[in-house]
Symmetry: C2
Subunit: 498 residues, 2 copies
């Protein structure tokens, strides 16, 4: 199969690796602005920033990557010159466990920390599914009290409101793994039935997608999906499966009602009762802080697939409707989730350290804000000072310096100035609000031309008669000494029209 091609110098492909992408201009600025707003809330709650290294030893990361069975599958890993394995972090929780174990004598306990940054997954990329993406986490390590869980739910509400999601457009749903454990105990699945219990978890996490019948089939004998593929069932009896299904559907009109419904399902399970008590405490603590049940609500359908949660789990959902790719209305859905986990630090120290935390889906939350029109994609392009006379670059630099010193975003055209049309095309690509023009005649008269580019574009599209052109000129002549003032006015007018 050897190929006989003539060798010629091979140029590298100008592409990132498969599944990676770049972010440009406003995308970067908007994300940074949102992360700064989130950090402000986290900081106010007493959380401290942590930026751990992007690279960890493979042994420190462990095999905790959710839903992957091979150790270290799903991560980007390589060997050091000393043969030690290193890998890119796949989330921000595993590094937190390592950091806390390493610095536990110097850090306050409880340790509240937040972290924001990229994580990497060595997974098959797909549409909208990248191998590098942002996470934004807040965790409290070393606090056994559910006050820590309640605090994170409260902080989640404040965070969503701070970035621009209005009250009424989100709901934080809270459940407790212990209650589910109680239900499973009651139907005869003990803590030793690890694999069956995990299979139940994975199955009910898919609840939304397959409906009542689907869930019952998957919990019992299995089912054949629409493509004809057979999916094995968990092997519960129908009576057992129905109890699990009831659990998922025990959300009443208010927390009191929900707690009542759940209490019927857990029978005499002490663990289940402990879980209910915790939910009640969380509900009361949030009440005391002024959060109502339209903001944070106990909801038995929240399961969260990850095996490592041990107590309260929570999820923030945006409830306003958007149109999906097929033009159907649907709720925007989940933008954050988390819960209590106790075993991550133990791997390092042998001591169990209680912890709870949340992760915000940065890209989904950004998409939601764009959807709500909270992020304006309005032109923030620079004023472009054009170059009419290559030898007078100093004059143009002087103008641009004046504008910048007045806080106005501005640049001189730095390409080849020969073709003036290219300069205006450039200004257009830059989404420039105003172009400044000073030819030799203007210079001699002490004036400059300034052109409202947005208005110019509209005028040439809309206006028919010369009279109208004159009445609303897109280009005006001003005194050179009034440059800053007049440009500022023109930008303000453009923004008013925008």
């Amino acid at each position: 199969m050897a190929k006989d091609k003539k060798k010629k110098p091979v140029r590298p492909k100008a592409l990132p690796p498969k599944g990676f992408r770049d972010y440009f201009g406003a995308e970067v600025a908007e994300r940074n602005a949102m992360l700064a707003e989130i950090a402000e809330v986290y900081h106010r709650y007493g959380f401290d920033a942590l930026e751990s290294s992007a690279v960890e030893t493979v042994e420190a990361l462990g095999s905790f990557l959710p839903d992957v069975e091979r150790p270290n599958a799903g991560v980007f890993a390589w060997q050091d010159e000393d043969d030690a394995w290193m890998a890119l972090r796949y989330d921000l929780t595993a590094p937190l466990a390592r950091v806390f174990a390493q610095h536990r004598n110097d850090l306050p306990t409880p340790y509240r920390r937040y972290a924001m940054g990229p994580v990497w997954r060595n997974e098959k990329p797909g549409p909208g599914r990248y191998r590098q993406f942002y996470q934004c986490d807040a965790d409290t390590v070393g606090a056994a009290s559910v006050a820590a869980d309640a605090e994170i739910c409260a902080m989640l509400c404040d965070t969503l409101e701070a970035v621009g999601i209005e009250r009424g457009d989100y709901i934080v749903r809270v459940n407790n793994r212990k209650v589910l454990d109680g239900v499973l105990e009651t139907i005869g699945l003990t803590e030793d039935d690890v694999s069956t219990r995990e299979a139940v978890l994975r199955t009910i996490d898919k609840f939304d997608k397959v409906g009542r019948e689907g869930v019952l089939q998957l919990l019992t004998e299995g089912r054949t999906d629409s493509s004809g593929a057979r999916i094995d069932g968990v092997g519960l009896s129908m009576a057992q499966a129905e109890n699990v299904y009831y659990f998922l559907n025990s959300t009443g009109d208010n927390n009191t009602e929900t707690l009542g419904l759940l209490s019927q399902l857990i029978g005499s399970s002490a663990k289940g009762q402990a879980g209910l008590n915790e939910l009640e405490d969380i509900s009361e603590l949030l009440n005391a802080q002024g959060y109502n049940e339209n903001q944070i609500r106990i909801d038995s359908s929240v399961v969260r697939g990850l095996g490592y949660y041990t107590g309260p789990v929570y999820e923030a959902e945006l409830t306003f409707e958007i149109l999906d790719a097929k033009g159907r209305k649907r709720q925007f859905g989940s933008v954050a989730g988390g819960g209590r986990y106790d075993d991550l630090v133990k791997r390092f120290t042998g001591q169990e350290v209680p912890a709870t935390g949340v992760s915000i889906g940065v890209d989904r939350l950004l998409a939601a804000l764009r959807e709500k029109g909270r992020i304006s994609s309005q032109s923030k392009g620079p004023v472009v000072v054009t170059v009419m006379d290559r030898d007078r670059m100093g004059d143009y630099q002087e103008m641009v310096a004046e504008l910048r010193n007045a806080g106005i975003r501005a640049e001189v055209y730095l390409g080849n100035p020969k073709n003036f049309g290219n300069q205006l095309k450039y200004a257009d690509k830059r989404e420039s609000p105003v172009a400044v023009i000073e030819g030799g005649d203007e210079k001699a008269k002490g004036v400059v031309q300034i052109k409202d580019l947005a208005l110019g574009a509209r005028l040439s599209a809309e206006i028919e008669t010369t009279e109208e052109w004159k009445a609303q000129p897109a280009q005006i002549e001003i005194k050179r000494s009034d440059l800053v003032e007049e440009v500022r006015k023109m930008i303000a007018r453009a923004e008013g029209l925008g």
Copy 2:
């Protein structure tokens, strides 16, 4: 050599890989604040943000890592499941070249972009030398005019002043590789003498460290350093070496004088003359924008070691004195550098694309700001609401919510509240300004105690008599309803004292 150890469960080490580190709290916040200030200046100059992926194909990165001879040595690289090699970026310039080549039809030309983020080097770590660190770059791609270089020098001044380096405490030095090329031409080294020319570059980049005799020795026959190690020389004649040395020392009292001195060294070299003209243009353009020679100055000693520069090179130095590790005064030194390079994009497209850019050493600039006292390490710890009565967590949560809603950083103690001393120790570790205390008696009376922790610490250290204690009490009783107001007052007082 087999060892016979009893097997016991091996716990992973709680350490990052060698040469990596974590950043905590204020370190992260201070860096982010500085980067935001820099981004604001860059944006005002018309530069757009770009965040490229941290991972690139090895072929896209190429072998451009400075001062490394093996291709891809010095980078962290691994193979994909498709056997394709990927690597972590080692700087922000190579990814820019890839991005520009990839998106050149959609991006404006010239393309001004800035980028901030970590880069990774697979090099031997040392004290203060990490394998992951931040870079902060601004580049203009597609502008052949030295107005682009001048603009970056001007922006560098504005940036340094924006983050808090005062005028007079920095100098941006500018030189031109073409002038050096002219000098080398004049002493008989043509463009074909690539390896000798590169050796000259590397050698004179070390100028600062070895002094006049050292440079002359290294340029000619080599030298034996203080440890007795022999370093080979470049092999120039003494006459040639002296010309190079004169070049490095041709900085006069002002730009006109410097240009005059340099013009004597380049003889009839057209390239050298072109370089001089460019320096003159840069000087004039900066003048027009109001920058003086105490801010930006032509300096023939600026060489910059990297082989890929083709025109103007520049470097920002902080000129104030600090004490080094041995207590000796020295200037703070370089915090940013860059220059013009033309070949990076060509690798991908075959077309030469002129580009110029600067990279700011984020960590060094942060260190400089700390040195100047521009970053206050003043306590920004949260108010800690202590827990006197575990059953009244709701009351404490209510207080903390009130404080937070008033914009005051605050937290409830979430550890085990049994030992009150531990709660105050915790508040101390958190550098908390104020602790709030409400026991059953206070609750009944509708009051709370608030304690000025900084003052408390000072009082217990300084004050001897009970009268003084009473005159300046660190702990006061206030009405519960005045909580926010009184805490705010106490924090203001603490900051006034701090």
